[in-house]
Amino acid sequence: MTDITKEAMMPPRSFLSQDAIQLFYRLLAALLICAVLAVLSDSFLSLGNILNVLRQASLTFFIASGLTLVVLTAGLDLSVGANVALSACIAGTVIHKTGSPALGILTGLACGGIVGLLNGIMVTALRIPSFIATYGMLWVLNGLTYWYMAGETLHGFPAGFRQIGSGYLFGLPIPVYLLLVFLGIGTLFAQRTIWGQEIYAIGANPVAARLSGIPVARRLLLVYAVSGTMAGLASIIFLSRLNSAEADIGESLTLPAIAAVLIGGTSLFGGVGTVFGTFIGALILTLVLNGMNLLSVSANWQPLVTGIIVILAVWLDMKTRRRAQ
């Protein structure tokens, strides 16, 4: 590929700066929530609690980061949570049977990746809309996991393996390091590589992308495989943090991941958004729940408040975006 075509595919600069404005608003919203919580609760600003929030946000972020790429192509991956459940159950079994965490981790990542690849094949080769394909996959994965686990749970993993999800390094939880690493990789990949820019281009206008020589099918395959592999990674973190796996963990993971992507400002219509935005989205969701626990908000009100925050965040986003245009 020549430099000229590379240059031509980069989005115009004003586009990137608009993303920067959106990120700024989002950070502001997160800081505002922090400020309110700091006033209302003495313990909110403690180092322990900040690390808590980051560690809790990391699991949602891992799932949501891969999902961001899918949404950037104007697709959706509804199977991520079910993928985490199946990958966790299979990886857990491998660790139990072989006693080797390394083998378990590889199996978990591979299982997640293969599911993602299958999603990609359905979307590209069979041309099934991603919403339907991954919804079907969600059922297939649930069925497999329920059948495989037969109502049992897996629990008890080696102490070394547990370190990944529960351990500390220089005072920081290990998932927080992973969070920073994948935030960096995701951002660099999306903003600074040709592949990343091609993904934006596919989401903005798939026909134009194809006509300008982007191998659309191959990029889509990549995007779904990455989303699946990140679900596989999340399954490993889940296993090692919770010390157990059961068939029904998926349902509680999918919607928060989708919410993090949307609160983070990635458009469901594709082509607009950032991985960093998704990180802020995951952070906002976690902050709200953390705050309500610290303030002992009644169990009745928690889902309601979370729902309102999600709606408010997306509404504010649309509003500022229109103004910026």
Binding site: Q56, Y146, T153, H155, L242, N290, S296, P303
Partner: protein, 328 residues
């Protein structure tokens, strides 16, 4: 185009349906008991199903399991009832996925004149031969009493609730709170939702530990949440007495290793056994007990042994035992 599509669908769907029919097909001999449970994810219902199978086998009857593919799905259980009414099993052992919403379904079974036994969650309506269940309120009350006794009637307590508004959660948490009222020395710090999910309970516990420097006891509305809370405590190098409810295998292991103080046994195995027993007995013209509410057992390190057996090796209670276990 339409034709080929139709052909395509048939060639895929037919073998699948036939395969499904073969694996679930009923045998001609002995009575066929259709067993309805709420989901395939909660280990509790697995114990119910194994109990039902166990009893059916010993009575030379056969079970057919009906489980919604989407956990606790009301429309799905309703359509399974419609299927079963057409299929006409000898009798039905029924757990409603929702005690109110499934009443029309129960009425359909009644109209079809298929005898039905209600287990686990008491249906708000319909006619049943018998009810076999446990009492969530006394499970909550007795497990919380045990925790408070262990703590000497004092200390800082947190409750981790299940799904708000679900029947099991309302009654269990009411039991917890009533036990707390009996111990004026104990202080309830917070009652926060974990939605019966391990991860949510872990995160709630992490958050609560930030604002409460001293937590002595944790009352969790199920075992998965109790274990999640223990992981959070371990992660922060803190100690508290934790109880759960359901008596799952995981909870028994945690009690053995001293991490979990106790779990309330919901007795799913006995519920499955006795529900099936009542159904078969009525078909054979033998007397049945119209209501059995099993007394809660608080499983602790002193009495966990009988619960530590694999499900397949457990034995069903006899008809005589049923009376002692809680007949009214």
């Amino acid at each position: 185009m339409k034709l080929t599509l139709g052909y395509f669908t048939c060639s895929f769907a037919l073998p699948l349906l036939m395969a499904a029919a073969f694996t679930t097909g009923a045998r001609a001999d002995g009575e066929t008991i259709a067993v309805f449970t709420k989901n395939q994810t909660n280990p509790f219902f697995q114990t119910v199903r194994v109990g039902a199978d166990n009893m059916a086998k010993s009575l030379n009857a056969k079970t057919l399991q009906y489980i919604p593919t989407k956990p606790d799905s009301i429309p799905e259980q309703l359509s399974q009832i419609e299927d079963v009414v057409v299929k006409k099993p000898s009798a039905i052992v029924f757990t409603p996925v929702d005690y109110k919403a499934m009443v029309p379904g129960v009425e359909k079974i009644n109209e079809a004149k298929i005898p039905v036994v209600n287990i686990t969650d008491r249906s708000a309506g319909g006619k049943f031969l018998s009810f076999v269940g446990a009492d969530d309120y006394s499970l909550g009350l007795e497990t919380a009493r045990f925790l408070l006794k262990t703590l000497g009637g004092k200390g800082n307590i947190v409750i981790i609730e299940g799904v708000k508004g679900s029947l099991t959660n309302v009654d269990r948490v009411r039991g917890f709170n009533d036990a707390l009222k009996e111990a004026p020395g104990a202080k309830l710090l917070a009652s926060q939702p974990g939605n019966y999910q391990r991860l949510q309970a872990l995160q709630v516990m992490e958050n609560l530990m930030q604002s409460n420097s001293q937590i002595d006891g944790v009352l969790a509305a199920n075992d998965a949440m109790a274990v999640g809370a223990i992981e959070a405590l371990d992660g922060a190098n803190r100690k508290a007495q934790v109880i759960g409810i359901n008596g799952t295998k995981e909870a028994i292991d945690a009690i053995k290793s001293g991490k979990l103080l106790a779990s309330g046994d919901y007795n799913g195995f006995a519920q499955g056994c006795l529900g099936t027993m009542m159904a078969v007995r009525s078909l054979r013209g033998q007397p049945v007990i119209s209501e059995i509410v099993l007394k809660p057992t608080v499983i602790t390190k002193d009495n966990y042994q009988p619960f530590d057996l694999p499900l397949e090796q457990r034995t069903c209670p006899t008809f005589e035992d049923a009376g002692k276990l809680g007949a009214k």
